[in-house]
């Protein structure tokens, strides 16, 4: 008696599990493509803020390699490099990079560099800095991040790649020094990385290490 009761209860629960799983599977299937499309659109929008569509004629989203260099790019996981070309000539790259020493952990950056090594621009893609203080690094909140535009290793010498407080030429902002310091350092390191690897970044189709 107890046994049949147990079996019946288990069957009912199993049925619920089946129905719920079916429901989730159905939704997953229906949303898979819209999600991928939204992700691609959001990423392209960010990329096009830095590399205007007029500058290139290739599909940025498809022309991508992954690289891994913890000492220059901040973290030891593969990061993407998007390559822009016009008539098959290299124009610029957008490198995903990380400032590992933000005030609250990693700051994820997208850094666009012209072929000649000057910066097209920098954007913060993800961060957890203090709202109201450190978040002035977002383009929506202040134009601080545009201070990097057109800077390069030749316009700005190694010692000047620091915030003003440390004797460099980049502003810090009121109430937050650690956040801008971390970003300036990360951008500088990424430029150094680009300088060392420029040709292989445009050429290679496989993963770099």
């Amino acid at each position: 008696m107890l046994f049949t009761h147990m079996i019946r209860t288990a069957l009912v629960l199993g049925m619920f599990a089946l129905i719920s799983t079916w429901l989730v599977a159905l939704t997953f299937d229906a949303t898979k493509e819209p999600i991928a499309a939204s992700e691609k659109r959001a990423l392209l929008r960010n990329l096009h803020q830095l590399i205007p569509p007029t500058l290139h004629d290739n599909d940025l989203f498809a022309d991508v390699i992954t690289v891994n260099d913890a000492s220059h790019l901040g973290i030891n996981t593969p990061l993407r490099v998007f390559r822009a070309r016009q008539n098959n000539q290299p124009i610029a790259v957008a490198i995903e990079s990380v400032a590992p020493d933000g005030y609250s952990g990693n700051i994820f950056l997208l850094i666009a560099i012209r072929y000649d090594g000057s910066l097209l621009g920098v954007r913060v893609s993800k961060h957890k800095e203090t709202p109201g203080l450190g978040d002035a690094i977002e383009i929506e909140r202040s134009d601080w991040i545009t201070g990097f535009n057109n800077k390069s290793l030749s316009t700005t010498h190694t010692k000047a790649w620091q915030v003003e407080k440390d004797g460099g030429e980049f502003d810090q902002f009121t109430g937050a020094t650690i956040t801008p310091r971390a970003i300036v350092k990360a951008v500088h390191k990424t430029l150094l990385y680009y300088q060392q690897h420029r040709d292989s970044l445009y050429k290679s189709n496989k993963q770099e290490s």
């Binding site: 719920s20 429901l23 949303t31 939204s38 109201g132």
Partner: protein
């Protein structure tokens, strides 16, 4: 259990409001309510889950044995939340990014299991649906009010980022209350959420006290009166 529709509505919106009275689901409530739009987004998602879970729990209430009702309810709630999480990711991508982890965390909002267990599993589908809808709207109102308060004090704006939810044409909805406002950090950070919610509960209790009949106030006279009866 024989509630009139009006009672169910009143309970959900005011007398038994999830945010003000039951104080359930505080984790997402406090974490997300930094702007009106965030609050509205989480509130609507929670309402959809509440409505769907209440209806299904009520529909299957005679099928499920008492021993397995909680796991069965959890399965239902979790699959609805997952479905809504995926749908928002697909069609409200930017808002989904802002709300982040708090959409999947609707599963752990005890208000939802609470309504399923305490109300929906003991009543007909129509009442359960109304209860889910009203509880959800009540929760959304708290989220929007708290979000509005924190956004106005913290950033000096209202309806910022409305385009994340309503599309590009909503970008002009943003109201700048104070020009060149430097921001008031406390209101945006978690302590501001606690203080804001506390103040709102104070206001609600004052209103309730005003509305209640004067005879409800206990005085020496009223005690003496009841004693003589």
């Amino acid at each position: 259990m024989f509630n009139r529709y009006a009672d169910i509505t009143g309970d959900g919106l005011w007398y038994n409001n999830i945010g003000f009275v039951q104080l359930l689901g505080l984790c997402p409530l406090l974490a997300v309510s930094s702007t009106v739009v965030n609050g509205l987004g989480l509130g609507l998602a929670t309402t959809a889950v509440l409505l769907a879970s209440n209806v299904s729990v009520s529909a299957i209430r005679n099928l499920v044995r008492p021993e397995i009702r909680i796991p069965a309810f959890m399965l239902i709630i979790a699959s609805f939340v997952t479905a809504i999480d995926l749908a928002m990711n697909a069609w409200l991508y930017d808002l989904h990014k802002v709300l982040g982890i708090f959409i999947p965390l609707i599963v752990t909002n005890c208000a939802i299991l609470g309504r399923a267990e305490a109300f929906a599993s003991r009543t007909a589908v129509d009442r359960a649906a109304l209860d889910g809808l009203m509880m959800g709207i009540g929760f959304t109102i708290v989220l929007v009010l708290l979000g509005g308060m924190r956004e106005a004090i913290g950033q000096g704006t209202l309806f910022a980022n409305a385009h994340l939810m309503f599309g590009a044409f909503a970008e002009s909805w943003k109201i700048i209350l104070i020009e060149d406002y430097r921001g008031f950090l406390l209101a945006i950070l978690p302590p501001g959420a606690f203080i804001g919610l506390g103040l709102m509960i104070v206001v609600k209790n004052i209103i309730d006290d005003k509305v209640a009949k004067p005879s409800a106030v206990i005085t020496a006279d009223s005690i003496a009166q009841t004693a003589t009866h």
